[in-house]
């Protein structure tokens, strides 16, 4: 049973346009959500996060939106740049209750930004 799902395996956008990556979750106990970015042959790197008490968090070109009622979050990248081409993983934690720091990851979405 996949608790965190990224239903789009890939996304292709033109440089300068907006990239929107989506993520759905099923566990209502998740209280913190993160996005990681992964280049080939490297480990994932943390990109941006959001607490369940917020509905939006912004960091430069990256914004994460959380819709708790729909159990849905999205990552917006504006404007998209070729260097953003990577695999993006959504992850969720119920750290408030379990206190283990465990993350549940989605399958990932491969973003290609075309020059």
């Amino acid at each position: 049973d996949q608790q965190v799902k990224q239903n789009s395996p890939s996304l292709s956008v033109q440089e300068g346009r907006i990239s929107i990556l989506n993520c759905d979750y099923t566990n209502s106990m998740f209280d913190y959500f993160l996005w990681y970015k992964k280049y080939p042959a490297e480990g994932p790197t943390f990109l941006i996060s959001i607490s369940s008490i917020k509905d939006k968090n912004e960091d430069g070109r990256f914004t994460v939106f959380l819709n708790k009622s729909a159990k849905h979050l999205s990552l917006h990248i504006v404007p998209s740049q070729p260097g953003d081409s990577a695999v993006y993983f959504c992850a969720a934690s119920d750290g408030g209750t379990s206190n283990t720091g465990k993350l549940i990851f989605g399958q990932g979405t491969t973003l290609q930004v075309k020059p």
Binding site: V4, A41, F46, F89, G95, G96, T100, G101
Partner: protein, 111 residues
């Protein structure tokens, strides 16, 4: 500050062989994790540790063992390697319950 380091980067094992994947962090993080990533899939948690001497199973622990004798090191042991263990293995650490820092990964092939 090296962050999270993993050795080896690549390894080919024969079925039934054993090996230890090394992971070390120099950030004094209490939490450490081992994941595996199969093609087209997300990261699956194998084992984790919330401090030296404390380890627990994750989602896919079968065929693996871990130990945590120091804060810095968290080795992953594969006993009797099987083709199903062909994967990329990532070690991660964190100082609190959320943002994890990942190593570069170990690509393992079992033939």
């Amino acid at each position: 500050n090296a962050g999270v380091t993993q050795t080896p980067k690549f390894r080919i094992l024969k079925i039934g062989q054993s090996m230890t994947l090394q992971c070390a962090q120099d950030m004094n993080h209490n939490y450490m994790y081992w994941y595996r990533q199969d093609p087209g899939m997300g990261l699956k948690l194998i084992y984790y540790s919330v401090g030296a001497g404390i380890t627990d199973k994750g989602e896919v622990p079968n065929g693996y063992n871990v130990s945590r004798s120091t804060t810095e090191d968290f080795p992953l042991r594969l006993e009797l390697a099987a083709p199903s263990q062909t994967s990329v293995y990532f070690c991660a650490s964190s100082s609190r319950s959320y943002e994890q820092y990942f190593g570069p990964g170990t690509r393992l092939t079992v033939t």
